[in-house]
Symmetry: C2
Subunit: 627 residues, 2 copies
Amino acid sequence: MKQMEHKVVFEPTGRHVFALPGTILLEAAALAGFIIQTPCGGAGNCGKCRVRITGGNCPPSANCKTVLGEGDVANGFRLACQAQLTGDLVIEIPATSLFETQQQILVQDSGAPVDLQPAVCKHYVELGLPDQTDSRSDVERLRAAIRPDTFTHVGIQSLRTLSGVLRKNDFKGTAILVDHELIDFEPGNTETQCYGVALDVGTTTLVGTLVNLKTGTESAIEARINPQTSYGDDVISRILKCREEAKGLSQLQRVIIGAINDIIDALTTATRLDRASIYEIVLAGNTTMQQIVCGIDPSALGELPFVPVFTDALQMQAEDLALDINPNGQVYVFPQIGGFVGGDTVAGIVASRLDREPGTTLFVDIGTNGEIVLAHNRKLIATSVAAGPAFEGARISCGMRAVSGAIEKIVLDGDLRMNIIGNVRPAGLCGSGLIDVAAELLRVGILDPTGRILPPEELPESVNKSLRKRLVLRNDQVDFMLAQKSETATGEPLFLTQKDVRELQLASAAIRSGINILLRLEGLQPMDIGGVLLAGGFGNFIRRNHARRIGLLPPIPCQRIRFIGNASSMGAKRALLSVAEKQYAADIAAKVRHVDLSLSPEFQMEFGAAMVFPDKDMGDEGVDLNG
Amino acid sequence: MKQMEHKVVFEPTGRHVFALPGTILLEAAALAGFIIQTPCGGAGNCGKCRVRITGGNCPPSANCKTVLGEGDVANGFRLACQAQLTGDLVIEIPATSLFETQQQILVQDSGAPVDLQPAVCKHYVELGLPDQTDSRSDVERLRAAIRPDTFTHVGIQSLRTLSGVLRKNDFKGTAILVDHELIDFEPGNTETQCYGVALDVGTTTLVGTLVNLKTGTESAIEARINPQTSYGDDVISRILKCREEAKGLSQLQRVIIGAINDIIDALTTATRLDRASIYEIVLAGNTTMQQIVCGIDPSALGELPFVPVFTDALQMQAEDLALDINPNGQVYVFPQIGGFVGGDTVAGIVASRLDREPGTTLFVDIGTNGEIVLAHNRKLIATSVAAGPAFEGARISCGMRAVSGAIEKIVLDGDLRMNIIGNVRPAGLCGSGLIDVAAELLRVGILDPTGRILPPEELPESVNKSLRKRLVLRNDQVDFMLAQKSETATGEPLFLTQKDVRELQLASAAIRSGINILLRLEGLQPMDIGGVLLAGGFGNFIRRNHARRIGLLPPIPCQRIRFIGNASSMGAKRALLSVAEKQYAADIAAKVRHVDLSLSPEFQMEFGAAMVFPDKDMGDEGVDLNG
């Protein structure tokens, strides 16, 4: 029987998502991009994740009443980490329940977020007409009407149109300023039509967020596969193309600009917005992606010592990159740290306020190019690893992105149970499902620590018949059947193959060995880590204990692991909303020390060790959970 | 007999000109663009104009020995206002003899002018190669090698090429900075190949000066007729074209950009320079010209209250204007004052240091769009007048620019004697010749104060037969024959027509009425004027007493009138050579008060009065020189 998804609307933004019955509110909120804080690790005893149901029915969980009190529960408050969807809901998320980085954006103060200070400003003006006692130049007249120091420069394009627009509209209209430059003047009052796009440019995935710069709210999100993946999965293959082919760079730039323009098109179509109302794009990506988008040859990143061309933030015209926004619009490219650690990591630190975390905190952005930052003793050190695209669904036999049809959750409970995004027939396996199945197969003993899928004759006796039936010998390898052909969307069966497990091992080991080297450099043990901030497009949905079980994360209690969502997108959005955040980004970029793993004599050893799955999961209390 | 011109080389720049025998050295220097100071008005008694002959023979004048002393004369020193050319010469102009504004440029200090601080700088660097202990980005590496604070921005174009050029050239090469932006990086040491062009954009004439930004010296000068003249003589006709024709502005912009590119082409061809070695253009023109060059519609200048679009200086890419210099080159457009008083006037004030003149000083820039600035009591007030192009040779029946073949000097001494530029057969009359002939005709009584050329029967008896024969009745008007057909280059006779005199009256009255209104506004009389700085393309060559005789200038002693040459070009050159001069220009533009003559109730009256030539020239001592 096909289950219906429920519509969940979040206030005060009005953003909505559809989610399966039984989804906990915390996950539904994460789907919508709201990261609710869970200091107790979702155990349902700290009460920090309280949300209020303002529409629809949501039965309180047992500890709701204990933790929140009868009065609050009667007033609609629920623990987001416990309460489950049973129907359509309208949920109000108190700012205090949001993860710190999101609080400021959503805190409403007289209708506008308190820190809203975007580079792009619009001012509607009604100027006095020139006469013989006042024959100031058009620019002087306009400047005086806004504020004498508001703009110091006027772009040549706006100078060319200003005079005509002023005179055709009785000297009334809207001035558009970016930083201290007048970039355009529009007829009428268009102050409310003021948008920007935050772009997270990943090696595999591109995410664009349309942001209303007047209100600070998100209007739409669109994601696309980075079309450069057709020229190679990882940054090294893209760099090689630039090094070896005369037109390699321009080809890679053209396709990614095309995809970004597609995203802009989808964002504006969805919101019925004129793309001329978009005045700034803030772009965050790793060093290779940022250079290619800007048309800057990344060849030097393909040889020791992996040198990027720039580290300071860049500002340029949208026209310079052929990006389809307002013709006078601007592009801001995040400052970079060094090597492959680029603007996306800086944006992630900006979003997570990692430098302000107390104690020792690890930031892990899981992507094809994975980045790890260790904050310890007020110092930040960062490195990058080539994790490969397995977590984003690529290089896996039945891999796919976390979109409708993807198996996003797997439980081996007697037989195999799964959640499929969109509640349709399964079409493939996304990153979180991949981690789930590996962790569960390890738990039940079908997968051994070396990553071998055991043949039926080698299985522990505890493995039941239903699971045994899923082991299939194909091409001299044992594969694990996730779904029979009668169950799938395509009519073809879905397998986790032995090769898929190897890909997962490589990806996981890359991240984990990076973490281990940074800890070693600072003389730290896993248990010294006070918190792990887990970022990445899929970061919201993976099971923390499963990530720990497969060794992707070190053995620390789950409650120390926090999901912070697509931190790069969030940081880009913050930079779009406030010039102070751009300054903060510059400070961060200058402050983080870059560590080149290839220089670490321990790297190969660490990587090899991390290829082996942990024997067992020691659990939150250090207890063997596999026993 | 055709006279040979002599070659005169000026040191320390090496610039040379050709001039007629008998030319005084002061004039030869002016031809080469060097304005030698003459506080005594060229009377030969102050000794400030001393120059030294270092090659060739130049007989000392009588007062050379008295004023300079025997020893100096023996060492080659001469009074430039007295000594005449008798053959080829090499002349050294001591910096102390130059008009103050030129001194700083030419004063040599360890091979470079002391105030040389151009926006464009080149730095040859040999960078350490990146290695595993030093994997800074290319930009960081370069910045550290120059000076940490040298550049704060990097243009996207140079980012796109930097990495490749560095690696192809062992990290050696030349960084090019404009202001605080890295605009390019070139292989090899190109520090000496660093040029800019100062552009004076007049309504009728365009003058480009190629300047070596490393040495501060001029390399070449080229002038062209502004091709917009084919669409109308004055700024009003150009503005009308923009108002009335949809493509009027783009047409006017295209032709002037074409002419500027022609000038750049000629400058680089003459000096065998690669135009890619030109990194900055500094442009000064009146408000209409500056707006049209930039593609900014000047329509609002065509209606009351004559509003320009901008007054601040503009900076843009040479590419924005399709100017053919280095593809990453920059354009600086002078700040403007208001109305029609634009960047050329600001540049003229910058060149003349008018605001630092003691007492009351008048700055008069004679061009099709004439500008007058009065400095009094530390205040500066400015206005513009539509003088028309008569002084630049247009609208005059046999008018021409001051180039080879132009009659540039006329004396009525028994019969008519003339100097022709290039010592060829006369082809026409340039501005200085026009003023000469009018002043001389007034003196001998052939022209009456109303501007009528008298018929033979009305002439005073003192007019001799030779002159009388030159009066010819044509089309019911009496014209004055300048040259018979047998004497001219074209085989056609040359006349000063009655209509030509009317054009001269209009041009002269426009300038003079502007002067008078400014004096009135400050409650001043002509004799209160301590000095007149006479600027304009032809300013060097007109006879001061003749300009006074026709009423173009007020009745003040000639020694108070100083020629400062093409002050707009000189100011543009100064801005090219020093960012401090650009700041000075901004200060000047903000400081000068603009006076709109059309608002002055006295203007029509003053203009009408100034149409009548003065009865007589009161002379330097207030004595009637016509008697």
